[in-house]
Amino acid sequence: MTARLTLLALVLASATQTLAQDNYKLGPDSMVQEGVPQGTVTQHKWTSRKVFPGTVRDYWIYVPKQYDGKTPAAVMVFQDGGTYVNTKRSFRVPTVFDNLIHKGQMPVTIGIFLNPGVIPPTKAGGRSRRNRSFEYDTLSGQYARFLLEEILPSVGKQHKLTDDPAMRAIGGISSGGICAWTVAWERPDRFRKVLSHVGSFTNIRGGHVYPALIRKTEPKPIRAFLQDGTNDLDNLHGSWPLSNRQMAAALKFSKYDHRFVMGTGGHNGRHGGAILPESLKWLWRDWNTKTTATPKAK
């Protein structure tokens, strides 16, 4: 009985504390607005045969109402797609895209929301191989290849997607955040905009070296928005707040076009969701301006 009461007290205490430090509220651009055309979201399943063979995953495609089927659309990919495409939780990306595209604050963008892969068991009730950490935390070009060789060509069959890397963004949360950075770092010829929420720039699989690499590598044409919170994780892999600060300091040193927002939240999407509209506006700013357009990929 005592154990239960103590645990209940702990749950309530941590819930209260969590609520206080994560007391971020969604703004109007995260809500459905009257008169704003709504895009369509479709759900799909992908079985990889080439880059992560054997994996299966759900994914979603958002097509804005303004997509005319002729003009190549901008692209934004999200890891942990189910979290970002959900219009009832923290991020509500389809709703935010609807609002920002309508106001011209971001281009007509097709959203691709990918869940991490899973290799199913062969026996019923067996253990599947969860591929999230392998796909998201590994420092390599493999996840980028997955996007470039499997997902984008497939989505590209149904929808006209731009080739311009400055019009292709990628975002994610936690391991999905460092994954987004890795894709742009490995393939800046294909993706040049990064959005990271409580990004795991820690030593899960050696990702903590990025600040060091950023400082001593010829700068790449990447624009990055990083969000973290002072109550984010501090564990065996590292300190998230310190690692994100290291990333920001390195990006500043190497004169990257970047923005770093440090709130008070923990390891979740509440702060990132609350500032998503402004993050995207910043990330996609000048999308319509020819003078600041980065050179097209060859």
């Binding site: 969590t18 590994t138 949360i173 936690s174």
Partner: protein, 304 residues
């Protein structure tokens, strides 16, 4: 350890959800979940030439090989006394007990996979396989590494053998709890290969799931060798840097320091509760009590 009652478990789960917020992420598994405070390595035996292949039986006794001396030794679970179990073992290397109570071994000197009986005698399971390490599933299917030929064999319960993986340089081999996934070390590379085990014993969908392995400064290879797993799915691999522990999603949880400056070859959990980590460390064997429990595959009855 008895499981906490359902209400406590539910509230603990609530706390985990509350603390983790809306993002699902895999449970972190630091070394503090494994190592006992104040507990270090204890010497079990010394004076051997090269120890390998530790295997635990149903009562927690641990058997290991001394390869160049052609011996298999037995460590008594209750007394800790080390005795000779078998001699003239023709460079037998990896060992593991099967459902049938026999001790399967890689009798590399004779290029045979054999099964040792309680009296130390052996029967031949398969011929023509230069073998380093093996794992025996609850269905009595074996996977055997053949490093000299860069391949992995399977031997089914009917003793039919075939090659199921090639083009890698394997050394140690182990199955996940649940036996649906096989893990193989690759010599001289800082990763472990992971395969899905198909119903017929074929291996599919390989990935360098465990990486990067810790490298000692100035070295480009981890010196990885034998492995074991615990009931929570943590994987332990012996390397030059120590025993490296990984969580079930392939992320490193930490490196357990070596008991001495010499090499580590292999690891198993022994003792009656299977919570004592035994490492074969060159000319010596060490043990260390832990908070976790090792996996054996022979507790499950073989499928009909």
């Amino acid at each position: 350890m008895p499981r906490p009652d359902p209400t406590v478990r539910f509230l603990a789960a609530c706390m985990l959800v509350v603390l983790s917020g809306s993002t699902a992420f895999a449970q972190d598994m630091p070394l503090t979940q494994v190592l006992l405070p104040g507990e270090g390595w204890h010497l079990v035996g010394s004076g051997y030439r090269f120890t390998e292949g530790p295997a635990v039986d149903a009562r927690g006794n641990v058997f290991f090989t001394d390869i160049p001396n052609d011996r298999i030794h037995r460590i008594d679970a209750a007394t800790g006394k080390v005795t000779v179990f078998a001699e003239k073992t023709a460079r037998t290397n990896g060992l593991m007990f099967g459902n049938d109570g026999l001790l399967y071994g890689c009798r590399n000197g004779d290029k045979q996979v054999v099964a040792y009986a309680a009296d130390g005698s052996h029967t031949v399971i398969a011929e023509g396989i230069p073998c380093n390490d093996l794992v025996v599933g609850s269905d009595m299917r074996l996977f055997v590494t053949d490093p000299g030929n860069n391949r992995v064999w399977t031997i089914d319960a009917k003793r039919h053998k075939r090659v199921v993986a090639e083009g890698i340089s394997p050394n140690g081999v182990i199955l996940w709890p649940g036996e649906g996934t096989l893990v193989v070390t690759e010599r001289n590379k800082p990763h472990l290969w992971t395969y899905r085990v198909e119903p017929d014993g074929s291996l599919s969908h390989r990935e360098r799931y465990y990486l990067p392995l810790r490298l000692l400064p100035g070295r480009d290879r981890p010196g990885s060798d034998g492995m074991t797993v615990d009931t929570n799915g943590r994987l332990y691999v012996t390397t030059s840097a120590g025993v490296q522990m990984f969580d079930p999603t392939g992320r490193m949880g930490g490196v357990i320091g070596k008991p001495h400056r010499g090499s580590l070859a292999n690891v198993v959990f022994g003792g009656p509760k299977r919570n004592v980590m035994y490492v074969t460390a060159g000319d010596r064997v060490y043990r260390r009590k832990t908070k976790v429990q090792g996996v054996v595959y022979f507790l499950k009855p073989p499928s009909p």
